[in-house]
C-alpha cells in the first residue's frame, strides 16, 4: 500500500493545491511542498531501514489487487532497490521543482501545482508499476501535465516546443501500446491466460521475429524519452522552453523513465532480441555522446546548451545498458541519479540567471564571478560534475560505464571516451561565457543567491559530492536488481550458445 500511497498523496495533493489556490496561492505552494516532502522522507526512511541488505526478498515492497479481472488488468505495484533509488530522486527533484517555482510562477498557480504534482505522480507510477496496462496509463499521466507545463508557463516559443514534445512522446508511446497489446495476445493465445501482469509475461514464449518487433515497439517509446540520437530533437526545444521546474523534471526525471523502461522491460522481456540489437544500440549511444557534446559546444542559449549535454550524457546510459555487464549497469544507475542532480542543478542555475537578467543568451553574459561568487562556485561544481571530475557522482557513473563497455567493445569505448574531451570543451565554455572574462553590461543586474535558492542548490551540491565519495550507498540498493536483469540476459546468451552447439 505504501507505493499506492506515494502516488495517491501526490495526486490528491495536486487536486487540493489547485482548489486552494483560488483563495490562497501561498498556501497552495506550501501544500505542494509538504506533499512532496512527505513522500521524500517516507521513501528515504524505507531506504535507510532496509540498509544494508537488499537481497533478502525479491521485492522490497509489493502490492497486488485485481482490478479488471476480465482483461487481466491488476493494480500491481512493486519496488526493488532500483525503483526505490529512482523514487527518492523523483521526490527530491520534485521538492526542488516546487521551491524554484516559488517566485517564478505567478500565473495560474493552482493549476501549475496540479500539473507539477501529477507529472511527479506519473513518474513515480512508472517507476513502481508492474502491470503493463497500468504502466502505459502512467506513461500517459506523465505526458499530458508536462505538455501543459511547457505550453502554459514556458518561454517565448512554448507552444511549438510543447506540441513537438507531445507528438514525439505520444507517437512513440503508441508504438509501445501496440507492443504491449501484441505481447498480451501472443501470451494469451499460447497459454490461455490473458494478463498484463509483468511476472506472468516474463515467462511468455515469443517467436524470434515477433519478439524483435515487439521489442522495437517498447524500445521506440524508451529511446525517444531517453533520448537516443536521432530521436532527440524534441528535447532541446522542450528543455529550453519549459519553465525552470519543467526543465528540472524533464532532464532530471522524465529522461530517466526511458532508461528505466529499457532496464525493467526491454531486457527482461526480450533478452534475445536485445542481445541482437546490442551493437547497434551501443553505436547509437556513442553517436549520442559525440553528437550531443558537439552540439552543446555550439549553442549560445544556456538552457539549450545544457539540454544537449543531456543528449550526450544519456548516450552513456545507452552505451552502458547494452554492454550487458554489472559494471556498466551500476554505472547506468549512478548516471541516472548523478545526471538528475547535476543537470537539474544547472537548470536551476539557468532559471536563477534568467530571473535576474531576463536572458538565456550566453553572449550577453560574462564576468559574473566578481559580483556573485556564490552562484559561480555552485555552477563550477556542477560544471565539473558534468565534465566527469572524479570526486563527484558523474565520474563514478561514466567511469563504470566506460569500464564496463570496454569489455563489450574496445572501439566504441574509445569513441565514447572522446566525448570526455568534448565534455571538457563545452563545460568550460559555460564558465567562460557566464562567469569569467570582463564584466558585461548584465553583471550589474546580478545579485547572489537568495536563501530560497541556497536551500535548493546547497543540498544538491552536497549530494553530488557525497555520491562521488560514497557511491556505494546507491550501488548496494541497486545491486540485486542489476544482477537479476543481467542474469536474464546471460541466461538467454547461454541458451543461444547451447542451441548453436546442439544444432550446428
Amino acid at each position: 500500500m505504501t507505493l499506492i500511497a506515494f502516488i495517491g498523496i501526490l495526486m490528491a495533493g495536486g487536486l487540493l493545491a489547485w482548489i486552494i489556490a483560488r483563495w490562497n496561492e501561498t498556501l497552495s505552494r506550501w501544500i505542494a511542498l509538504t506533499v512532496v516532502l512527505i513522500d521524500l522522507m517516507w521513501s528515504v526512511a524505507i531506504l535507510v531501514s532496509r540498509r544494508p541488505d537488499f537481497s533478502g526478498t525479491d521485492w522490497l515492497i509489493r502490492f497486488d489487487y485485481p482490478w479488471i479481472g476480465r482483461f487481466g488488468i491488476g493494480i500491481s505495484v512493486a519496488a526493488d532497490g532500483l525503483s526505490l533509488v529512482l523514487l527518492i530522486l523523483t521526490f527530491f527533484l520534485g521538492a526542488v521543482s516546487v521551491v524554484v517555482s516559488w517566485r517564478e510562477i505567478r500565473d495560474r498557480v493552482g493549476f501549475f501545482h496540479f500539473n507539477l504534482l501529477w507529472v511527479l505522480a506519473g513518474i513515480a507510477g512508472v517507476f513502481v508499476v508492474i502491470d503493463l496496462f497500468l504502466f502505459y496509463f502512467f506513461w500517459e499521466v506523465m505526458l499530458i501535465p508536462m505538455y501543459f507545463l511547457i505550453g502554459t508557463w514556458g518561454h517565448e516559443n512554448r507552444r511549438y516546443a510543447a506540441v513537438k514534445f507531445f507528438i514525439f512522446t505520444q507517437a512513440s508511446g503508441l508504438m509501445m501500446l501496440l507492443s504491449i497489446l501484441g505481447l498480451y495476445f501472443i501470451h494469451g493465445i499460447n497459454t490461455g491466460t490473458y494478463t498484463f501482469d509483468y511476472f506472468e509475461l516474463l515467462t511468455a514464449t515469443v517467436g524470434t521475429t515477433a519478439g524483435r518487433w515487439l521489442m522495437l515497439g517498447f524500445l521506440a517509446a524508451f529511446i525517444v524519452k531517453l533520448p537516443v540520437v536521432p530521436f532527440h530533437s524534441w528535447l532541446p526545444d522542450a528543455h529550453s522552453q519549459a519553465p525552470t521546474a519543467g526543465s528540472v523534471i524533464l532532464a532530471g526525471l522524465l529522461l530517466k523513465t526511458g532508461a528505466y523502461g529499457i532496464l525493467r522491460f526491454v531486457l527482461p522481456l526480450f533478452p534475445d532480441a536485445s542481445r541482437e540489437l546490442a551493437s547497434i544500440a551501443m553505436t547509437l549511444g556513442v553517436a549520442g555522446i559525440l553528437y550531443g557534446a558537439l552540439l552543446a559546444y555550439g549553442q549560445t542559449d544556456f538552457k539549450r546548451l545544457v539540454a544537449y549535454t543531456s543528449v550526450s550524457h544519456m548516450g552513456f546510459v545507452m552505451l552502458g545498458i547494452f554492454s550487458f555487464n554489472e559494471l556498466a549497469f551500476q554505472g547506468v544507475v549512478m548516471q541516472l541519479v548523478a545526471h538528475g542532480l547535476s543537470t537539474g542543478a544547472l537548470f536551476v542555475i539557468a532559471g536563477a540567471l534568467y530571473e535576474r537578467i531576463h536572458t538565456r543568451d550566453l553572449s550577453l553574459m560574462g564576468g559574473f564571478w566578481t559580483g556573485t561568487p556564490f552562484i559561480g562556485f555552485i555552477t563550477l561544481v556542477f560544471v565539473m560534475a558534468s565534465l566527469g571530475l572524479p570526486g563527484l557522482a558523474n565520474f563514478i557513473a561514466e567511469f563504470l560505464i566506460l569500464n564496463g563497455a570496454w569489455q563489450a567493445s574496445h572501439a566504441l569505448t574509445v569513441a565514447g571516451a572522446m566525448g570526455l574531451i568534448l565534455a571538457m570543451a563545452y563545460s568550460l565554455r559555460i564558465m567562460r561565457k557566464i562567469f569569467f572574462g570582463p564584466a558585461s553590461d548584465m553583471a550589474s543586474r546580478m545579485s547572489d543567491l537568495t536563501l530560497r535558492e541556497k536551500v535548493v542548490l546547497v543540498p544538491m551540491t552536497l549530494l553530488v559530492i557525497f555520491l562521488g565519495l560514497f557511491p556505494q550507498h546507491v550501488f548496494n540498493a541497486s545491486e540485486k536488481t542489476v544482477k537479476d536483469i543481467l542474469g536474464v540476459v546471460m541466461r538467454s546468451q547461454a541458451d543461444a550458445i547451447q542451441n548453436a552447439n546442439e544444432n550446428p
Binding site: L294, Y297, G298, L402, A417
Partner: protein, 627 residues
C-alpha cells in the same frame, strides 16, 4: 604501527584548509586567511617530517585504508593511502616546497582581492597532489590526477577578467584531458586484464600475465604514457605549459614547475614494471624525453618573457626525467625531480619577486642591472640558475643531470643517440640559463625597482637556494664518494639501473665531458650576451625563420589549431541548428504542404466537385474494363 598511521592527516589538513576557505573565506581577514592557507600546509609538512623520521627507522610499505569507495563486481577501489620510499619523497617535496610557496604567497598575493580564493585553490591543489602520489589504486590516483588538473585550471585563470588567462587555463585543462583520456582507457585495459586497479596487484601480476615484449603490455604502457605526457608537458602534448604562465607566479612555481608537472614522472616510475615489460614503450619514453628536452631547450633560448624562459626550461628538464625513465634509470629520474623541484621553484619565486619589483614587467630585455638593486634575489637566483645549468661539483643539478647522462650512455637500455641528445641539451641549458642571468641581472638597468620583497618572500628564496646546492650531495657518483642515499632509499621500490659491463672505468671521462659541455655553454652565453654586445641581435637577424619557429615553440599551436580546434569549432558552428532536427522539420513541412494542397480542392465550387466525381467514376469504370 607507528607515526605512519597518521598519514591520512597529510592530505586531510590542506583539504580542511580549502573547505574552510571556500565556505567562510569571504568573511575572513587576510591574516586569518593566510594562517589557514599556509598553516594547513605547514602542519601537513610537519606531519610528513614526523612520518618520515618514523619511516626511516622502519622502512616498509604502509597501506592505510580509509574507506571502501566503490565495490561493484571485481572493481573494488578504496580510498587508501600507500606509503613507500617513492611516495615519501614526493610528499616531502609537495608539502615542504608547497609550504614555502604558500608562505611566499602570503606576501606576494597580499594586495589581491581574491586572496581567499587563491589559498583555497592552492590548498586544494596540495591535497589533490598528495592523493595522487599516495594513492594505492589507480582510480584514486586518477582522482588526484584530475584534481590537480582542476586546480591548475582555476589558478592559471585566476585573474579571470582577462580573457587571455581564461584561454590559457582552458588550453591547459583540455590538452591534459587528451592525455588523461588515453590514461583512462589504459585503466580499462589494465582492469580487463588484472580484474583489479590496485597498483600492487597489477605490478605483481603483470610479469606473469604478460610476456616480456608482448604487444598488449606495450599498448597499456603507451596509454599510460599518454596521460603522463599530458600532465608533464611532454611531446606531443607539451604546448600548454608556456601559456600556463598566465597564472600568478607562486602557482607557476608550485604547480607548473615543482609538483604537478612531474606527476607523469611519478606515474611512469610507479608503474615501472609495466614499462619494463615493453622495450618499445621504454624506448618511446626515452625518445619522447630526448626530443622534448631538445626542442624545449631551443625554444627557451629565444624567449623574452622571463616566465616563459623558465616554462620551456621546465619542459626541457622534465624531458631529462623522461629520458632517464626511458633508459631504466628510475632513481636518476626521481633524483632529478627532487633537485629540479627545489631549484626551479626557486627560480620561479625569484622571477616573481623581480616581476613584482618592476611593475609586472615580464620582458627580460627591459630588465637588466638588477644585480645591485635586488641583491638577495640575485644571489639566490644565481644559486638556482647554477643548479639548472648544472655547474659542476657545487650544484645539485650537476649531480642529478650527470647521473642521467651516465645511464643514458652506460645503461643497458641507453643509446648513443639519447646520450648525445642529453649532452646537447646540457649545452643548450647552460646557454639559455647564462643568457637569462646576464640579461636580467647585469648590464644597464632599464627599469627602476619600485619595491623590494619582504622577509616572507626572501626567506623561501634563501631556504630553496641552500637546498638547491645541498641536496645534490645526497647522491654523488660512485667514483666520487660512497653517498648514494637517494638510489639506496628508493632501492626497495624502483629497480636499479643496469649498466653495460666494463664501462664503469670511463665514468670520470663522461663527467669531464659533461663539465666541459656545461662550461662551454656558459662561455658561449657569456660571449654572446656580455662580451660582444649586439651579437645576439645579429644571430637573430641571420636566421629569422628559425628564430621565429623556436620562439613559437616549433609551431605546435598553429598545427593543433589547424588540425583539431578549427574543424571542431567549425563543425560545432555548422551543426548548431541540429541537422537531424531538419529531418523532422522536413516531415512536418511535407505534412503541412500536403494538407494545403488537398485543402485547396475543398473550395465550395460545385462544378469542381462534379468534375471530381466524373473523373473518379471514369477511372473506376476504366479499371473495371481493363482488369
Amino acid at each position: 604501527m607507528n607515526a605512519v598511521q597518521y598519514l591520512w592527516l597529510v592530505p586531510l589538513l590542506p583539504l580542511l584548509g580549502a573547505v574552510l576557505l571556500i565556505v567562510a573565506g569571504r568573511n575572513m581577514s587576510k591574516p586569518i586567511i593566510a594562517s589557514i592557507g599556509a598553516g594547513s600546509v605547514g602542519l601537513s609538512a610537519l606531519t610528513v617530517i614526523v612520518i618520515g623520521v618514523a619511516f626511516l627507522s622502519n622502512p616498509d610499505v604502509y597501506e592505510i585504508s580509509v574507506w571502501q569507495w566503490i565495490a561493484v563486481g571485481n572493481l573494488t577501489p578504496s580510498i587508501e593511502l600507500h606509503l613507500d620510499a617513492l611516495s615519501l619523497m614526493f610528499i616531502f617535496v609537495i608539502t615542504f616546497v608547497g609550504f614555502l610557496i604558500h608562505l611566499y604567497s602570503v606576501e606576494f598575493m597580499g594586495e589581491d582581492s581574491g586572496y581567499a580564493r587563491f589559498f583555497a585553490c592552492l590548498n586544494l591543489f596540495v591535497c589533490s597532489m598528495l592523493l595522487l602520489v599516495l594513492a594505492g589504486n589507480l582510480v584514486l590516483l586518477y582522482l588526484g590526477w584530475e584534481g590537480v588538473g582542476l586546480c591548475s585550471y582555476l589558478l592559471i585563470g585566476f585573474w579571470y577578467e582577462d580573457p587571455k588567462n581564461g584561454y590559457a587555463a582552458r588550453k591547459a585543462f583540455i590538452i591534459t584531458r587528451v592525455g588523461d583520456t588515453a590514461m583512462l582507457i589504459g585503466l580499462f585495459l589494465l582492469f580487463a586484464t588484472f580484474n583489479s586497479l590496485d597498483i600492487e596487484t597489477i605490478l605483481s601480476a603483470a610479469p606473469s600475465r604478460w610476456e616480456q615484449g608482448s604487444s598488449i603490455a606495450t599498448v597499456a604502457a603507451l596509454l599510460l604514457l599518454g596521460g603522463a605526457a599530458g600532465k608533464s608537458a611532454q611531446l606531443p602534448l607539451q604546448n600548454w605549459l608556456p601559456d600556463a604562465m598566465a597564472g600568478p607566479t607562486p602557482v607557476s612555481a608550485l604547480i607548473h614547475a615543482a609538483t604537478m608537472v612531474t606527476a607523469g614522472v611519478y606515474l611512469i616510475a610507479r608503474m615501472n614494471v609495466l614499462f619494463e615489460l615493453s622495450p618499445v614503450a621504454m624506448t618511446t619514453v626515452g625518445v619522447v624525453g630526448a626530443v622534448t628536452l631538445l626542442i624545449a631547450g631551443f625554444s627557451a633560448m629565444t624567449q623574452t618573457d622571463l616566465k616563459r624562459v623558465l616554462a620551456y626550461s621546465t619542459i626541457s628538464q622534465i624531458g631529462y626525467m623522461f629520458l632517464a625513465l626511458g633508459v631504466g634509470a628510475w632513481s636518476a629520474a626521481i633524483f632529478h625531480f627532487f633537485t629540479h623541484a627545489f631549484f626551479k621553484a626557486l627560480l620561479f619565486l625569484g622571477a616573481g619577486a623581480i616581476i613584482e619589483a618592476l611593475h609586472h614587467e615580464h620582458n627580460i630585455f627591459r630588465m637588466g642591472g638588477l644585480r645591485k638593486q635586488l641583491p638577495i634575489v640575485f644571489i639566490t637566483f644565481l644559486a638556482g640558475a647554477a643548479s639548472l645549468a648544472a655547474l659542476p661539483l657545487v650544484t645539485s643539478g650537476f649531480y642529478s643531470k650527470d647521473m642521467i647522462l651516465w645511464y643514458a650512455w652506460a645503461g643497458e637500455k641507453g643509446s648513443g643517440l639519447l646520450f648525445i641528445a642529453g649532452l646537447v641539451g646540457a649545452l643548450v641549458t647552460a646557454l639559455y640559463t647564462t643568457r637569462l642571468v646576464i640579461v636580467t641581472f647585469f648590464g644597464y638597468a632599464n627599469t627602476r625597482v619600485s619595491k623590494r620583497p619582504g622577509w616572507r618572500m626572501t626567506m623561501p628564496l634563501g631556504v630553496l637556494a641552500a637546498l638547491s646546492v645541498v641536496v645534490g650531495f645526497l647522491e654523488v657518483p660512485h667514483n666520487f664518494w660512497h653517498a648514494q642515499l637517494i638510489s639506496g632509499f628508493l632501492g626497495g621500490v624502483l629497480p636499479a639501473a643496469v649498466i653495460d659491463s666494463g664501462i664503469e672505468a670511463y665514468e670520470w671521462a663522461l663527467q669531464l665531458l659533461a663539465a666541459v659541455v656545461t662550461l662551454g655553454g656558459i662561455f658561449i652565453g657569456y660571449f654572446v650576451y656580455m662580451a660582444t654586445p649586439g651579437l645576439h641581435e645579429l644571430v637573430k637577424k641571420k636566421f629569422p625563420t628559425l628564430h621565429q619557429l623556436m620562439y613559437d615553440g616549433w609551431g605546435f599551436d598553429a598545427l593543433y589549431t589547424l588540425l583539431f580546434v578549427k574543424p571542431v569549432t567549425w563543425l560545432a558552428r555548422a551543426s548548431r541548428g541540429d541537422v537531424i532536427d531538419g529531418i523532422y522539420t522536413g516531415i512536418a513541412w511535407v505534412a503541412i504542404a500536403a494538407n494545403r494542397a488537398i485543402a485547396t480542392t475543398q473550395n465550395g465550387v460545385m462544378r469542381w466537385y462534379v468534375l471530381g466525381i466524373v473523373v473518379g467514376a471514369l477511372l473506376i469504370i476504366t479499371l473495371g474494363i481493363l482488369v
